[in-house]
Symmetry: C2
Subunit: 698 residues, 2 copies
């Protein structure tokens, strides 16, 4: 009796194995479990950007001893499978498999894991033992011929999707079958015919898949590349062009005067210009310079104290201009290949129109007054937080309308101030609706708070997140943080690294001065695909307001026009330009999941590399960058770095020897070295704070 | 304008906050994420048994600074919430919460996590700072009164399920409100009225829940207690009562002669008697004594070589009796409060009727012959594995019919031989249908294989699993394994510990002799809620077949009648009886998730405790057992054990001092000691291999 096989054309009814409907989550014939990346039971999508490869992992195993295989499969928003990648075991004995997939355009994709029984590999293994041992010789060779015949005909067990082989491949197998079944030949010759490289190649290219099955399909939200990769420059537009009149009164800068700085910013290679809020500013309880409780006449107030009689979040501060000026600013930025990111701070000054028009959008106290922000005993009387308790729907619609307005005027990125003080469910809904209506618009979460909140904001749809980077100031902790961001959370959280912001000035910048500014810029620009600089960075504005981890004479409370033509500012600007050029020219620096930490012999020196294989590189060439940073801005560090060459895509004969295996070119100063697995370094901050090496083949 | 509140009776339409349908997995207002236990995205149920408490964990956090709370909620198969437990933070700074739930009867339950904003605790915190500091005194006290009024009326924000307070509780709050709002009193007195213990208690008993929300409901399969807890005794029925005739020929024991041993087995406190297969045995390629390739005349053959002309899996070996004998055996066992577990080995001898009736249920080779079991170059020609490739549906139905037959004849437990050599998808379907039709019937997986397969068999429905226990032979590795079983896998895998089986005889038993048999019995009986003994254990049958980790003269291939009246056998039987009595009298020993490893100063000595709080104990009393075992059967061990008293439910003043805090009574020999946090032990295997202490209060 011949084996009954389900082929594409046969009626499969008598062999159906589909479990009854009551089995939820039926396991494939070759089980696939514990798929990664999966967020909240697969209800929320994992993340990638166009052109970014990401790892899929699964536990795949089977009953009995026969061979099996698995592939990760990527499906585009139209439902078409666009890529299949054979999975490889990564935890021997643990049946854990991995493959990398690469979505090529934005949209709502899915991925799954397919598994099957591999009869050819099973036969290769068994025949390789039995024929030399003289066991079951004839039937074993016939079994081989049978597998080859099934492959030619596309007859796979319980797999109606198997297709017959193309003619050339079929011919290869037919030749093999002839010899396999030729009893005039020796068993060894016959075996050789069935196991020779040409035959193996046919089965590699067109595997015979018995008992095929698949995991569930999991969601993958693919965003445009800027969601992962960008170089940001933060400005307070009112400062640029601000000046004092003859009688000592300040005149605000405008959107048009701010635009005058765009050439300089673009010239340094930044591609996002981020504007702190540009709305009217309240006068009630307005803060004075250095966060004093009462403003002096002429103090402009904090742009985060949003709203006045002139309007609220949908209005431009009259001093800055009007919507035509804004449109012009956006156009000027676009002309220089820069996007405009707008700050969205969902809070109101007491003078915001919503306070009188919609008191139900605020928390009202027992005496009917509106609650200001507080963290008892601290009071922030210049700020009224919004409250979603009374009229969540109305407030939601108002906020959405604000965003729609700015999107209409060319804003493509929102930098969201303190999202963790608004309900996560609100963001989840807003980001879901924005994703549907404006998938190109990106949201950056400024949530410096506990891990669960930061993680969940990213999971519910924020495209990018500020991180703890500014507070990771030794190689051990920053190395571990880089690894965590690259490996543990990259499937939902895209980091952005800022050495300073208008709110953050850490001790290392105060103590380390110019060296620290250079060093932290290198770390930010190379450690994360998105990094950002707050204006004034070029001037090493590193004096803190006493007792606070932020700059004195903070720009939030005063005009701060700057001159960037000092020798020091020019030198730092050059370094920023060099870093952004290195990023632009090296796709490895534009990716997150491709990072490896390497060991150094010096406690102050961090080494990491980023590598892209040719297949996943946008220019089709493999790209490798090695970054070596002395994180102590004061002291020279010499020592050895021990590279894990296997992570650099470099053929590594004698990996532990002193052999030279590559040439490295420092992208900062152009110097060239011949390197191997172990390499000497000498990083004196007075001369250089870091190497950023591009790897070139010898 | 008064705050608009959703109450149960009001029309909530204008305030609806439900996200649009397109938000999959909407996060609750107070977010709940990363719920545990959840298996395969929640599609497969987590496990518990009736009367077994289990931990629920979740990440719960919120926007802003206000107080919040979470409860784990248990829902019975009828959809009724039967238990709510307030969750407590277990990872400070990580927002990770836990509570334990206790399902009381078998069935398909669910659990979920509810979260809410807690306005009273928020007010307690704020008022406690502001009133003493003299900030916003009047409005803060009014806010307190408002919260109390809302509680009385059952007016919670966005929570239509909130109910008005019962009269007594409402009266307590009304009294408090009177004082809170009495401006003739000092602010301190007014605050005191709103924060006094009686008021706090009202809010503890009837929390005011604003912004209530819930996680998804997750599946929980609750099985009867035997799924977790039991003492098994394994027999080959044919051996019991087997004897030689005068002319040296063996006469098989029968089900009726085997039943003669039930009194002895029940007398030792075992409650499951497990029968190796009782079906007809093939003669083709029958194995002889000690697994030799050819049987001698009179060799009975392995009961795992199932099937002959007399029948297959649905048939009883004629030598053992017939179905009336089987029914009688089951009845005899039941009379002694024992269940009968039957071995299911889904494989066939070449003489099994299925081989000729259903060749499509086997793998056929290219020459048309049926494939025997093999692991090249090893051949097992006495065994034909079943194959699900050709007619999975027909084979499925046949196997199901076999199980139904034995269930009809009183089998309540199946011990499944090598389930990992059959498709996992087959088990998933079979166990799902069995769970629906016969939820009381239990399945034990004998899969000594890699972790992924063992884990998944348990996840798809096996009620119990054999474990690596026999190969964990030092305190460090066994302690880590006990912890893993209690903490990491208890939500899906229920372990059974066997010191030996008919297939397994490890080196420690060979080397350690009687001491090892006593020691491993203590570990198995106390370390796992289910443990088992293979008959002959009492006789220390510890000689291996050379080169194999199994007993010589293996009972699989010969008759093995035994006499249990030697002094040694009686002594070991007494120990088994004592252990089973300790298990019966101490519910802490009948549970899995309640285990703690304690540090000892001796590398050979393992200490663990099991503790049940009174609320979760079936007899309503807290129960604590401390087990201290010298795992070296040869050498005396003395040293100190350092108990983590917080895990013993013992009030622990001066936990690190030498103070006596409890009395411990050794359940093995009745001796009593006064113990504290640090205790001396002296375990000389010649005298005692272990202590099994019941903790008694001083």
């Amino acid at each position: 009796m011949a084996t009954r096989i389900n082929t594409g054309g046969s009626k499969a009814a008598p062999q159906k194995t589909k479990p009854p409907a009551r089995v939820a989550g039926p396991v494939p014939q070759i089980p696939v479990t514990e798929v990664f990346p999966v967020i909240e039971d697969g209800l929320w999508p994992a993340k990638a950007v166009e052109g970014e490869s990401f790892p899929v992992r699964a536990t795949v195993f089977r009953d009995g001893h026969d061979a099996y295989a698995a592939e990760a499969v990527l499906t585009n928003p139209n439902g078409t499978d666009t890529m299949r990648a054979r999975m490889h075991e990564i935890g021997i004995g643990l049946d854990r498999f991995e493959a990398w997939l690469l979505p090529k355009r934005p949209g709502d994709w899915t991925f799954r894991v397919e598994s099957w029984s591999d009869p050819y590999t099973t036969w290769l293994h068994d025949a390789g033992i039995k024929i030399p041992a003289g066991i079951d010789v004839e039937v074993t060779l016939m079994e081989g011929a049978k597998v080859l015949k099934r492959a030619i005909a596309g007859e796979a067990i319980q797999n109606p999707t198997q297709k017959p082989l193309p003619a050339a491949a079929a011919k290869t197998l037919r030749t093999a079958i002839k010899k396999l079944t030729d009893t005039t030949l020796t068993p060894e010759k016959r075996l050789e015919a069935g196991t020779k490289p040409q035959v193996v190649r046919v089965f590699n290219d067109y595997p015979l898949r018995d008992l095929i099955g698949a995991s569930r399909a999991y969601k993958l939200q693919v965003d445009r590349e800027r969601a992962l990769t960008g170089a940001w420059y933060e400005i307070f537009p009112r400062s640029i062009g601000a000046h004092k009149t003859g009688d000592g009164e300040w005149v605000s800068g405008t959107l048009r005067s701010a635009a005058a700085d765009l050439d300089r910013i673009a010239g340094m290679g930044f591609n996002v210009v981020y504007l702190t809020p540009i709305h009217p500013i309240g006068t009630t309880f307005r803060k004075g310079r250095n966060n004093t409780l009462t403003a002096e006449p002429g103090d402009p107030g904090s742009p985060y104290g949003i709203g006045s009689a002139a309007g609220g979040h949908d209005t431009i501060h009259p001093d800055l201009g009007d919507f035509s000026d804004f449109d012009w600013f956006v156009a000027q930025a676009r002309d220089r290949d820069m996007e405009v990111a707008l700050d969205i701070a969902l809070q109101c000054s007491p003078d915001h129109p919503w306070v009188t028009e919609h008191p139900e959008w605020f928390k009202r106290r027992a005496d009917g007054s509106i609650a200001y922000a507080e963290n008892p005993p601290k009071k922030y009387q210049d700020i009224y937080p919004l409250s979603f308790d009374e009229d969540p729907e109305g407030l939601y619609r108002a906020i959405k309308a604000v965003l729609e307005l700015w999107i209409k005027h060319g804003v493509t990125i929102f930098r969201v101030d303190n999202p963790h003080t608004k309900p996560v469910a609100f963001w989840q809904r807003l980001l879901a609706e924005m994703h549907l209506a404006h998938p190109q618009v990106l949201f950056l979460a400024e949530a410096f708070t506990r891990p669960a909140m930061m993680r969940t904001l990213a999971e519910v749809g924020f495209h990018q997140s500020y991180t703890y980077f500014a507070w990771r100031n030794n190689p051990w902790e920053l190395g571990e943080y880089l690894r965590e961001l690259a490996e543990d959370t990259a499937h939902f959280l895209r980091p952005t690294f800022w050495p300073t912001t208008h709110d953050i000035l850490t001790q290392v910048m105060v103590d380390g001065g110019e060296n620290a500014y250079l060093m932290r810029a290198v770390l930010a620009a190379t450690g994360s695909p998105t990094w950002g600089i707050y204006s004034g960075y070029e001037l090493v504005e590193n004096v803190q307001r006493p007792g606070f981890e932020e700059a004195i004479d903070n720009e939030k409370y005063e005009f701060k026009p700057r001159e960037y033509d000092s020798i020091r500012a020019v030198a730092i600007s050059k370094m920023l330009q060099t870093l952004n050029r290195a990023r632009a020219e090296h796709p490895a620096l534009q990716r997150l999941r491709n990072l490896t930490i390497h060991e150094t012999t010096h406690d102050d020196v961090l080494c990491f590399s980023k590598h892209l294989d040719a297949w996943e590189s946008p220019n089709g060439h493999a790209d490798t960058v090695i970054v070596l940073v002395n994180m102590n801005p004061h002291w020279r560090a010499t020592g050895e770095v021990h590279l894990d060459l296997s992570r650099l895509g470099i053929p590594a004969p004698g990996a532990d020897s002193g052999w030279t295996v590559m040439r490295v070119r420092d992208l900062l100063d152009g110097q060239v070295y011949d390197w191997g697995a172990r390499n000497y370094f000498d990083l004196d901050p007075a001369l250089r704070v870091a190497h950023v090496f591009a790897v070139e083949n010898l």
